[in-house]
Every structure is written in C-alpha cells, then in structure tokens.
Subunit: 408 residues, 2 copies
Amino acid sequence: MTVISVTPAAAALAEVPEGSVGYVSPEYLTFDEPLALASGQVLPAYTLAVETYGTLNAERSNAVLICHALNASHHVAGLDASQPDSVGWWDNMVGPGKAVDTDRFFVIGVNNLGSCFGSTGPVSINPETGEPWGASFPLLTVEDWVRAQARVADHFGIQKLAAVMGGSLGGMQALSWSITCPERVGHCIVIASTARLSAQNIAFNEVARRAIITDPDFRGGHYYADGVVPTHGLSVARMVGHITYQSDEVMAEKFGRAQRAPGPDGRFHYNYDVEFEVESYLRYQGEKFSRYFDANTYLLLTRALDYFDPARDHGGDLARALAAARARFLLVSFSTDWRFAPEHSREIVRALLKNQREVTYAEIDAPHGHDAFLLEDPRYHAVVQGYFDRIAHRLGLAARSRTAGVLA
Amino acid sequence: MTVISVTPAAAALAEVPEGSVGYVSPEYLTFDEPLALASGQVLPAYTLAVETYGTLNAERSNAVLICHALNASHHVAGLDASQPDSVGWWDNMVGPGKAVDTDRFFVIGVNNLGSCFGSTGPVSINPETGEPWGASFPLLTVEDWVRAQARVADHFGIQKLAAVMGGSLGGMQALSWSITCPERVGHCIVIASTARLSAQNIAFNEVARRAIITDPDFRGGHYYADGVVPTHGLSVARMVGHITYQSDEVMAEKFGRAQRAPGPDGRFHYNYDVEFEVESYLRYQGEKFSRYFDANTYLLLTRALDYFDPARDHGGDLARALAAARARFLLVSFSTDWRFAPEHSREIVRALLKNQREVTYAEIDAPHGHDAFLLEDPRYHAVVQGYFDRIAHRLGLAARSRTAGVLA
C-alpha cells in the first residue's frame, strides 16, 4: 500500500459555498497484492484515486462509500483544489448538513478501477511493456470493482461500512457489495439502477461501442502512441447516452423544436449544420466528452454494465442471488427514467422482500428521466436524508446539527 | 413525361402465393417541368419510380397512393420480377382480398424523390455536371414530396385519390397531402405517425447524421467518385434507428440477455466481439443496411422528418394548419410505439375534430413498438379493411369478392 497525496494549488481558492465540504484533493492508494478478476486474468497491482469528506469516528462505524456511474469519478463533493471551478458530481447530496451529512458521516469517493481519472486503467502504463495498457487492459465486472474497493475500506481500517450508495452503475456496485461482501455493508442504497440490463440497454451500449471501435482513430484501442483519439466515435457514443439519460418530456421542455439561429422570418437553412437547439446541445455534450474521457475506458465501463447480472449464477432467480445479503436497503427510482425504469427497482424490492430483508422503496414522480438521480429534488433528497438519519440513529451518531441545500 | 417500363426477367418465376399481387415491375416516370422546392431551389426535372397494382376504373375514382417511410420504396406489394425473392414492404396489407384490396382499388407505390431506389436523388447524375449530385442534391421537405407525387396522379389522369395512406414518414406525407392538395384526397390514412417530431426524435436523427457525416469515408457527401461508402457511419445510424423502432418489451422477448455463442459453462468471452444475441442482430441489420442504402439519401430523409411541422406557419396551431383539409381521416397508433407514441396521433385527432372533420381513430394495443405498422396484426388489419370497405361503399365499388391474409 502506497499513498500519494497531491498538495492543492494554493492559488485561486475562492470562497467556499454554504453546505460544501470545501476544497478537496484526491489520495492515490496503490495496492500491490494481485487482484484476481472475473475474466480469469490477474491484475498484479493497481492504484485507486480516492477522496474523503468528514471524519472517521473512533469506532470506524460511520463510513459511507459512494460508487460512481459511467463518466464520474472519486470527486463526489466539494471543490477540486487543483481546478477550483470543478464541483463534485454529487455535491448537492453530500456535504455538511446535506442528505449525506459529512458532519456525521465519513464519506469515501473512489474512482473505479479501469476508469481514467487517476485509478489504474487503459490509459495507465502497463509495467510489463512500459506502454499504456490500451486495449490490452483486462475487462472488469461490477464484482471486480467491489473487490478492488474492499481494499480501500481495509486501508481505512473499516470492517463494516455504514452504507454503500450509488446511482445507475453506482447502484449496481452498491447492490453487488451487499452480495459480494455481505458482512461489510450495513445499508445498501441503490438509486435509479437495475439488477441487470435489458436487451434495449445492451443495444444502446453496443451502438456506442460500434461508434468508437469503427472510428479509424481508435486503431484497435492503441491510439495513445499515435497521439490521436477517436473523437468522432466518442462523441456519437456520448450523444446516444445523453438521449437515454433524459425523458422525452424534459427534452420537449428544454429544447422542443426551438431553432438555434433561424434565418430571416424564421426560415430553415436546409442543410445538415445545427438547425435545432437540441442538435447544438448534443453536439456540444459529445465534443466536450470526447476531450476528457478515454475511449477504452468507455468501452470497459459499458461492457461491465452489460455483464452485471447477479441472478445469472442462480438460474436467473434474483431472490436466490440476494439470499446472502445482510444489509438493510433503500431503493429509489424515478417515474420518467426509461433507461432503468421503476420496474427495474421494483424487481429488486420484490427479490429482497422474498428474503425478508428490510427495504425502503421510494418511486419519485420526477420529470427528468434517468438524470434525476443527479439533480436536486426536495422529495428525493428528503427520502435520502431521512434514511441517513435512521442510519445515524441506529449507529448512535450525534443528531444532525444543521441542514443545508434543498433540505434547508 | 417519359415512361420507361422494365421487362421482368422471365426466368425463375416461382408460384405466386395466395393474396399476392404477383410479379411486378416498376415504371420510371420522368417529369420535365421544373419543381420549385421549399428550400428555394428548383429541380429542373426528375424521375420517380412507380409500381401499381389492380386496375384503375373508368371513373378513375379507385386510386390509392401509398407513401413510404425512411428506408422503403415504390415496391409496396408483390414480388419484384427482377429479384423474385423480394417481397413488397407492405405486402401483408396490399393485395387481392387483403385490407387494401387490389381487386377493387388501383394502388400506386412511389419511391420518394431524393431516395435511392430509382427516383432522382443524390445518387443520380446531375445533368449540369455529369457527376452524381451527392451532397449538392437539394434538401427536400414532406411538402416537396407531395407536390412531386401529385404529378404521378396527373400522369394517371386521377383528379382525386380515393385515399392517400402511409405509416411513419409515409403517414406524414398522407397528412401533408390533405393540407397541400385538399381537393385531391378523399380519405387520408395516417398510421404510427406524427404532425411534428419531438426534441427526442430530432436528437436520434442527429446522432444518425453525425455518425454518417463524421465517417471519413463520407468525404463531405462526394464519396461516389472515390468508390467508397461510409459503411460504418451508416451502420451505426441504422442500429440507432432499429432500437427506436422496437419496444423495450419486444426486444426483451426476442433477445433478452441471451448469449450468442457462450463459452464453456456459459462463460462470457470478456471482449468487445458479439457477446449477446441483440448485438449480433443489430450489427447484422446495420451492415446489411450499409450495403444497400445511400448515405446522402439517409441524411436527406431524416432532415425532411425533422422539418415536417405543418402547424409552424400557423403559430404552432395544428387545428389551423388542418383547416384547409377536406378529406375523411383514419388514424392508427400502437400502444408500445415510443418513437411516435399514441399521443402524437391523438394530437392530430383533436386538431381534426376542432375542424369538424370526420375522423376514425384506433389505438392498437400491440407489443411491437413503432414497427407494428409493418407487421401482421388481425385487429390492426381489420380496422384498415373495415375502413376501405367504407371507402368502397361510398364510391359505389363492387363488394369484396374474397378475403386473404390474416383477415381470411
């Protein structure tokens, strides 16, 4: 185990907003013990980028692990000290007085193994070759991530996490924690997620992968040496993703059929440049993504999504797959989420109830589709806050001292 | 006007199935009068590929024009004499004794202007340059198609069509006929269609276009001379399309999470080759499409979809846009169609009722998503058959002499 801490850039530290955990910097934890993967391959060593917020109590009982979705990272909350305008991806959820209250809980954010924000992945140097792993980086599963993350808990001396929590792919990791390490999870919080992708879900992932792999600049995944990036393929992949994250309703409300820069008298331009606002938005999102996200990582993450199916080793019976779980559960879904519609969550709830597990389930009537799990919604955040109040009560943690964000 | 008829290949004419119109061949109608387009451009002359089935009666009152959707053609019914295994795309709907009964009606199929199956389009030679039009072919609108098709009716000496009918983009053309040429349409049959695309619809079209345009083999739309085709882009575009044509439910039923060629003990292969059946299906559809469909045509057709919005010139008020219509209407939608969900049809129905139009509306509870309009469903076909029986009765045509297909 090696720990490298990066000193924040002292410059440009603006005022920290109310309810923020403040300026944060990642630690880089390196684990030298080999990790056996579901694929049969073995990763000899790996590094994980980690951020923490709040204070681990003496009993080490107040830790909350937050798992991220496709394109996020360990930077869950606060302001990145090296890029002061970079707010954590779940900052509205995590902070002093927020739903996941860092006055009471010690929160851990970890960049997934195989991702591209500081953890070992396809962009890392393969020590055996001295070159980036690229396409030869081993494929990973959600279970591999859980085993890799368990060593982060070990590092902090945490035997049992108060909670493991995540949305979308992060929720799949939380669910897998409850099966893979049942004794180490007090509460499992699964938001806008699923116990297995549908054929339609896999189909959209496959479109994204084909766009990337057939981009000539992908070069079989070994594009780093040539100084190129499959920008076009990544961009198309992200555009497809974005459509599936939003509801038809919210796209109608945000963009409708508004024209971007109409000609005289509102005329169309009759070409294939941006004509409608929604096209401009999608192109912008695609291009932005292609500048910061690694193509091999995108392939790896979407494939891990496809493979996740804990019921598979139990004849397709999710209740049997969850029989080992010992945690209490909170599940949240959103009415207009058509990527992982509420029925995906209800299936998990039914399987848990068959096992006499204690389950809280909230189906939030929200217009924002799958993206709702990342947005501020008072009913949604109140559900999570109430649940964490119960966790704190069970653990004998101090009562909430303040309330911030939408909950204030 | 020039008419070229192609003689069918006499060889390999197999037995014609019951209810089929038999072996058919297209005519190629050339119109030398310039066509003024919505874009402001003028097409000096154009050819349309046309097929007809049944016999035009002496009063010329029994003609039905069938408009096609994105990737179809004039070959609506029967067997193409030059490719005997090529069955028309709506053969289950059109034929002797079928819902659109060619014993009583004279049915016209026409390949859209700008398409790639014999009508003038980007693959045609621009007489001014002696080269294929390619990307310089003018963009078209649904209204342009209607005006181009009206000359087909003129050619046959048909003043008023008994019906104009289509599904999806074809339904948009039928709707536009009722506004653009109100006195020439007796009945307007709009199936699984819409009066305007939603932001989400446009977004999916834009993904498809970006995949094509950013394929290096697209070469700005002038790929013909180089003997290349943007195969990868077209393939991704088609894959996206296919997902939107099917419901989540029917994909779950057809493919689920079935593996294509599982390893020993059902193991995954842990790579990006085909792992799931649904991936194999989508890749096959994409590759097949990229071999027969022209990329510039795909761009043009999706853009025409985006632009269609008859309410636009009436302050967004569809009822005002439809005030000119004189036809009777049949609208059909399908419960699981999420591309053009039933609400799109209901909006048209409400606007027609505001105008005191006679409207029949059927919402079919079918599992197949948008594709349902092409499939055999006894309830759906019975609705269409019943409607055509009423048309025949109004026109004083002979009673149905036989019943074929799912209706038998």
